[in-house]
């Protein structure tokens, strides 16, 4: 008979007797009573080894009063989770892309950054993507020519490629088709394709898409592109000489921001752009006379495109020169005072609603702050409600036409993408797209190299130096549900 003490975890069991004639298994059974650890899970350490169930006590040489150590728990054995964990590294490429939170860049095929940045900016319009994905051969109307059709298909393919891929996509197919449709982009210089004006590319591409995406019924209203980007202007022509007045309406895809010495801010530039002089035959005078043209916005688009007129043809140097003047633009644009009277009336109610909601949000938050000490619960409530109202004020585009009845334009727009140019003339330099993601993060698409940017850096692209400066910017309308 031996007496030993056994240490298990932090406990010590003193004076356990061992009957050396019986196998150690019996000893383990004794310990089972004390610790609740089943014998097969017990590991008993005797100087440099484990005690085996069938060992011979005499061979082990346990002395009287020796301290033994036992390891073992009755814990549950770890099991792998039934649903195997999926690691990002194992995912196929396209799924990894979604993890990044933004899509891939485009390979520069030789001075094609104007095209790449245009594509990236347009791709950020989910409605356009949706319209494109609905476009199919069947939907092709007869008045669309072959090349336009091909360009539309190529655009659709390119957009879907970008969404799928992690690595930069080469837009070679798209480029080929684009050149086919618009041979001016094939201009060569020293055997290389020339840098082109992104604005031209933007306009042409949108034009083509608007042609081909017209619904087969070919009524005006079903023009998807126009519904998204079209701005209806009502202009009043006034001839000072004769005092004649006439009005006309037109539809444009973008507003121009004219840059002159007085223009420091986008708003001023836009106003400037909506006023103009033109020479026209005056029926009253019977000769051409100078007319003053003042335009006002008659209907608002979902996406408001503004082009900074930074390039002008400089006769002396025979090239498109650039105005480097700094023109600030806001992240949130209100174009209420550019609207026509009719439109303003329509906007009144939604704007009031929006103001109320915002006021409520602020008001609630202040009241919540003051009462925060009294009740935490109230504050969380308040936060939740303000959060909720914030969400309802911006309607997600996916809801589409069905919810349009309840949502209304407010005349307020949020900046969603910026196409910038860096360099001194339109046919040289570098174009880059800066696009706001659905997550609210800004991504700079510099050809094949997308990178995260901070929001405050986006407003720094307003020009006045040699840094990237905004050339075309796109705003998205803010809706309010009523």
């Amino acid at each position: 008979m031996l007496t030993v003490s056994v240490k298990w975890q932090k406990k010590v069991f003193e004076g356990i007797e061992i009957d050396v004639t019986l196998p150690p298994y019996v000893f383990k059974a004794q310990l089972y009573d004390l610790t609740g650890v089943p014998p097969e899970r017990q590991k008993i350490m005797v100087k440099g080894g484990l005690l085996k169930d069938d060992a011979d006590w005499s061979a082990i040489g346990v002395k009287d009063g020796q301290k033994l150590m036992m390891m073992g728990t009755a814990d549950e054995i770890v099991k792998a989770p039934e649903k195997a964990i999926v690691f990002a590294e194992d995912l196929p490429e396209e799924e990894q892309a979604t993890n990044l939170g933004y899509s891939a860049g485009l390979v520069n095929l030789g001075n094609t950054c104007y095209m790449n940045s245009t594509v990236q900016c347009l791709k950020s319009v989910p409605e356009l993507k949706a319209a494109l994905s609905n476009y199919s051969l069947a939907g092709r109307s007869n008045d669309v020519d072959q090349t336009s059709h091909m360009l539309t298909v190529a655009t659709r393919e390119l957009f879907s490629d970008l969404d799928k891929s992690v690595n930069a996509v080469s837009p070679s197919q798209f480029w080929m088709v684009l050149r086919k449709k618009y041979p001016q982009f094939s201009q060569l210089q020293n055997g290389m394709h020339m840098q082109q004006d992104a604005e031209e590319c933007w306009t042409q591409l949108l034009y083509t898409l608007s042609q081909s995406l017209k619904a087969p019924t070919s009524s005006e209203d079903s023009d998807a592109v126009k519904a998204l980007f079209g701005v209806n202007l009502r202009s009043r022509l006034h001839c000072q000489e004769s005092g004649e007045e006439s009005s006309e309406t037109e539809s444009v895809y973008s507003l121009k921001c004219h840059i002159s010495h007085e223009v420091n801010h986008l708003h001023e530039g836009l106003k400037h752009g909506l006023k103009g002089e033109l020479e026209k035959t005056s029926p009253a005078l019977g000769r051409s006379a100078l007319y003053l043209k003042e335009s006002l916005i008659d209907s608002l688009p979902r996406y408001l495109t503004v082009q900074f007129v930074r390039f002008f043809w400089k006769r002396e140097t025979n090239q498109k020169a650039k105005i480097l003047r700094k023109v600030d633009y806001p992240l949130e644009l209100d174009i209420y005072d550019l609207c026509s009277e009719d439109l303003r009336k329509k906007l009144e109610a939604p704007r009031q609603k929006l103001r109320d909601e915002e006021g409520k949000k602020l008001g609630l938050q202040t009241s919540a702050k003051s009462s925060a000490k009294d009740s935490d619960v109230k504050m969380t409530d308040a936060e939740a409600s303000s959060h909720g109202s914030g969400e309802s004020s911006t309607v997600t585009p996916q809801e589409g036409a069905s919810s349009e009845k309840e949502t209304h334009m407010t005349g307020i727009y949020d900046l969603v993408s910026v196409l910038t140019h860096k360099g001194r003339s339109a046919d040289s330099g570098h174009y880059v797209a800066w696009v706001k993601q659905e997550s609210g993060k800004w991504i700079q698409y510099d050809d094949d190299h997308p990178s995260l940017q901070r929001e405050e850096d986006i407003t720094k692209l307003s020009g006045g130096g040699d840094w990237h400066m905004a050339y075309i910017i796109m705003y998205k309308a803010r809706f309010v549900s009523m």
């Binding site: 814990d75 054995i77 590294e89």
Partner: protein, 891 residues
């Protein structure tokens, strides 16, 4: 005023000699003439007197002679006490030096001749040309009277001449007995007059330090020993050991046992350690010794001779075995209130990064989770709780319970082992919690459990040897990952133990032709750790054979580098003992030969500060190699290893590494950040931080990775806000590069290691002692980092756990006589070097008063701010036992 350069305004012996050369009697006469007019009345009187004496000395009448000599002596003695200018009598006697010399030569042997010789000896102080040693010559023929009566300056000059004479006579092999008599006198004089440093210098010059023992007393032994120990760092070859030997003996003589023990440990002389125990009779003090030994991390077995009583011995052995470390560490943590577990996200602090930080991905990234596993392990090391691994596993709803399975394949090994890190030093709970993994049927998990057992037991010894018992049987398993887990676990748990049982089970693996390469590599490494600094022949043989058996292709593998490293660790800090093995290594395949050579050299001279070896290694780095040679990496690391021991060498090394960085080739540049990391480990020097920060943006990604890891190393356990900020910015800078991001995460984990309570520095006891196991752990990691891509970023990331060998709480914890923690006020401040300083200078500066337990940063020192207690060790680090001061009176 005096046109003659004042020879006395310089204190050093050598400089004075130079000054005297300039004085020789070329033009003094002319100048003396001019000067005569300026002399004051007193001086004129003195001058005339002296001239009279000189004349009378030459008088045939011995009576007159004697009177003149005595008067002259009187004048000189009266004036030589002043040190600020040339004593006037000496100045006035200068023109007569030649005359007196001449006269002395012709004098008959007599007492008078001796007296004159004495005076000439003093005059020679300023007159004799360099190298003539006339002062000494006349002294030896003189009357051998009290040496101190002629003033300090004279004695100092004499000491300088003795040293020269001694080297000359050594060369000629002539007798030095007469010199030694003089040395005796001088040493006695110096030791009495607070000039211990000079006495030691002289004795070192004449190679007879034993004399010191006779002359030290209670008042001066501390300063003497202080000087000896710090001088040892700069002495070559066997001299340093000799000096420390003397210091040890002095400490023993004056019963200053903690210091004696410190030196015994430095000398790695177990006989001395034992002597400390046998000489001391106080049990409480012995407990303090045990704490010191446990901090050093060596395996030490107390025998009845050292501690007679069985119960006492067991208690002391428990302290040596570090069983209370966990408890002390947790006491510290509770006192500082950092028990709350931290998640990796708390460390990353992504919310402080604006915009750029990508949001948490929706799916789990294995790389990301692996980094989180390590960060979690390092940050919560030793606390016994965390938010990933120790949360109850039955909460199946939460993802936390299954963190283990959020790691992929070999990642699970690191995850399971991280539990060991979290429960570091707490063997009982650690084994209990790791137990569940042993029953898994997933090999990587078992491997992790084995490794975890090793980590839990790191630095802790236990009679039952649980690590050996548990891991032993897994060494022979089929699966290589399980084998590596067991082997590495043993290496960590038994580092420095020289356990024969493990050797007999690991050695066969080395020469097993069927064993996979990585298993062999880890076996060699573990053996190197277990036998670190032992110079064990048999282990060396096994590793050498294993290296010779490797095929050309295998030698090209990254993991093979652990074989030479294992070999090198055997000789860690053992200097010449490596030579035989280094010879053998020259016969290796050329692919590994140089690598092996560099590793052996750098390990053997690690922490010695040997300048010649630094030069050897620098020469290696200067070569421009063809592609493919990898031996310059270990050479650069070697530079740091050799030079890291003392502050001056360390600063010089940092500067020379800067050059290496500029002119070296890419493979050298990759190692430089690691070398910097080693030099300043857990000691974030601003200049090094800046260099590393610059390198962390290097275009070569491997340089950048090494720099990032090194940023973690220099900040390890400091919570340094600046490094933390740098790393945070790097995490957003490299957010797209998974490899670099992984390195940044690891570095972040290191900086917040143990929530700032731990240190990786292998140095302790006021930077005197170098823990061999700690250094082994760090060096292993650094060697692994030389090929980051294949080892740490590959599937051997668990080598990061080798750092556990170096992890120690950077605390000072005071305990009472029953070893219960007590809180006392202490002053903590920057340590000041007081070696050789006059008086009783302050040892710390810019201090703040805290109450214990306190944290000590690199270069800080603590002192008690109360007289109520007496610490049992003068080095206030780690565990300190306090004894009540019997003389203390409450105010």
């Amino acid at each position: 005023m005096a046109p003659v350069p004042d020879p006395n305004n310089v204190s050093g012996g050598a400089k004075r000699d130079e000054a005297t050369v300039k004085v020789p009697s070329k033009d003094p006469k002319k100048k003396d003439d001019k000067k005569e007019e300026d002399l004051s009345e007193e001086d004129l009187q003195l001058k005339q007197n002296l001239e009279l004496y000189v004349e009378r000395v030459q008088d045939p009448n011995p009576e007159l002679q004697k009177a003149a000599l005595e008067s002259m002596r009187q004048e000189i003695r009266a004036s030589t006490s002043s040190m600020t200018s040339v004593p006037k009598p000496l100045k006035f006697l200068r023109p007569h030096y030649g005359t007196l010399k001449e006269f002395h030569k012709n004098m008959a042997e007599s007492d008078l001749k001796k007296m004159l010789a004495d005076i000439l000896s003093v005059l020679a102080l300023t007159m004799s040309a360099e190298g003539e040693r006339e002062s000494l010559g006349y002294r030896l023929t003189g009357s051998e009277g009290d040496i101190g009566s002629w003033g300090h300056e004279y004695v100092r000059n004499l000491a300088g001449e003795i040293a020269e004479e001694y080297t000359m006579r050594q060369g000629e092999e002539s007798s030095i007995e007469d010199l030694m008599d003089l040395v005796q006198q001088i040493v006695a004089f110096h030791m009495k007059h607070n000039a211990e440093t000079e006495a030691v210098d002289l004795l070192m010059d004449v190679e007879d330090l034993d004399l010191l023992l006779e002359h030290v007393d209670r008042t001066n032994f501390r300063r003497t020993c202080n000087y000896l120990t710090s001088a040892a760092k700069y002495l070559p070859g066997p001299d340093d050991m000799l000096v420390l030997d003397i210091a040890y003996m002095i400490y023993i003589k004056f019963e200053e046992y903690p210091n004696a023990l410190q030196i015994a440990l430095f000398l790695d002389n177990m006989q001395y350690v034992k002597q400390v125990f046998t000489s001391c009779t106080d049990l409480l003090r012995k407990k303090q010794f045990c704490y010191m030994i446990s901090r050093h991390g060596i395996t030490f077995e107390l025998d009845p001779e050292m501690v007679a009583d069985d119960v006492d011995r067991e208690m002391l052995q428990d302290i040596v075995n570090n069983t209370k470390l966990s408890e002390g560490y947790l006491t510290l943590a509770r006192d500082i209130e950092v028990m709350e577990a931290k998640t990796p996200e708390d460390i990353y602090k992504a919310h402080l990064l604006d915009g750029r930080a990508s949001s948490a991905p929706s799916t789990d990234s294995a790389r990301h989770n692996l980094a989180a596993t390590f960060v979690n392990a390092f940050v919560n090391a030793g606390f016994g709780q965390d938010k990933l691994m120790t949360v109850p596993s039955d909460s199946t709803s939460g993802s936390a319970g299954n963190w283990l399975f959020k790691n992929k394949e070999h990642g699970k090994t690191s995850a399971a082992a991280s539990l060991g890190m979290i429960l570091l030093w707490d063997v009982d709970s650690g084994l209990a919690q790791l137990d569940k993994y042993f029953h898994s049927n997933d090999n990587p998990i078992i491997a992790g459990a084995l490794l975890g057992v090793g980590i839990v037991n790191c630095g802790i010894k236990n009679d039952c040897d649980p690590a050996l018992a548990l891991l032993g049987e897994y060494i022979e398993k089929e699966d290589p990952s399980v084998r590596i887990g067991a082997i590495m676990g043993l290496g960590i748990a038994y580092a420095g133990s020289q356990n024969d049982q493990i050797r007999s089970s690991l050695s066969p693996i080395l020469n097993d032709a069927k064993a996979p390469l990585d298993v062999i590599a880890f076996a060699a490494l573990s053996l190197g750790m277990i036998y670190v600094g032992s110079c064990n022949e048999e282990v060396a043989q096994s590793i050498i054979f294993a290296l010779m058996d490797r095929s050309e292709a295998e030698l090209g593998e990254a993991i093979t580098r652990f074989l030479p490293l294992g070999l090198g660790l055997l000789y860690l800090g053992k200097q010449e003992s490596v030579e035989a093995t280094a010879e053998v290594s020259k016969t290796f395949n050329e692919k590994i030969r140089k690598y092996c050579d560099m590793t052996l050299l750098s390990c053997a001279y690690a922490g010695t500060g040997n300048v010649l070896k630094v030069q050897d290694l620098l020469a290696q780095c200067g070569e421009h190699l063809e592609k493919g040679d990898i031996h310059q990496g270990p050479a650069v690391l070697g530079l740091a290893m050799v030079a890291m021991s003392e502050e001056l060498g360390l600063d010089m090394e940092i500067r020379s590494l800067e050059r290496v960085l500029q002119y070296g080739e890419q493979n050298i540049r990759r190692a430089v950040p690691l070398a910097l990391g080693l030099l300043c480990i857990s000691n974030p020097k601003v200049n090094v931080m800046d260099t590393l920060s610059r390198l962390s943006h290097d275009t070569d990604s491997e340089v950048a990775m090494a720099a990032i890891i090194s940023l973690g190393l220099i900040g390890a356990g400091t919570n340094n806000a600046r490094i933390a900020g740098m790393l945070r910015n790097l995490s957003s800078y490299y957010y797209k590069d998974p490899s670099l991001l992984f390195c940044v995460r690891i570095a972040q984990g290191l900086v917040h290691m143990g929530k700032g309570l731990l240190s990786l520095s292998p140095f302790h006891s006021e930077r005197l002692l170098l823990s061999p196991t700690a250094l082994a752990g760090i060096v292993t990691l650094l060697h692994a980092c030389l090929d980051m891509k294949s080892i740490i970023l590959g599937k051997y990331h668990y080598v990061l756990y080798f750092l556990v060998l170096a992890m120690q709480p950077r605390m000072m914890l005071t305990v009472d006589e029953n070893l219960k923690p007590i809180s006392v006020p202490v002053r903590v401040g920057q340590a000041v070097d007081v070696v050789g300083q006059a008086g009783r200078p302050k040892t710390i500066t810019g201090f703040q008063t805290h109450s214990t337990p306190v944290l000590l940063a690199a270069g800080e020192r603590a002192e008690l701010a109360t007289d109520k207690y007496i610490p049992l060790s003068p080095i206030l680090e780690g565990f300190i036992i306090l004894k009540e001061n019997p003389d203390y009176r409450e105010e």
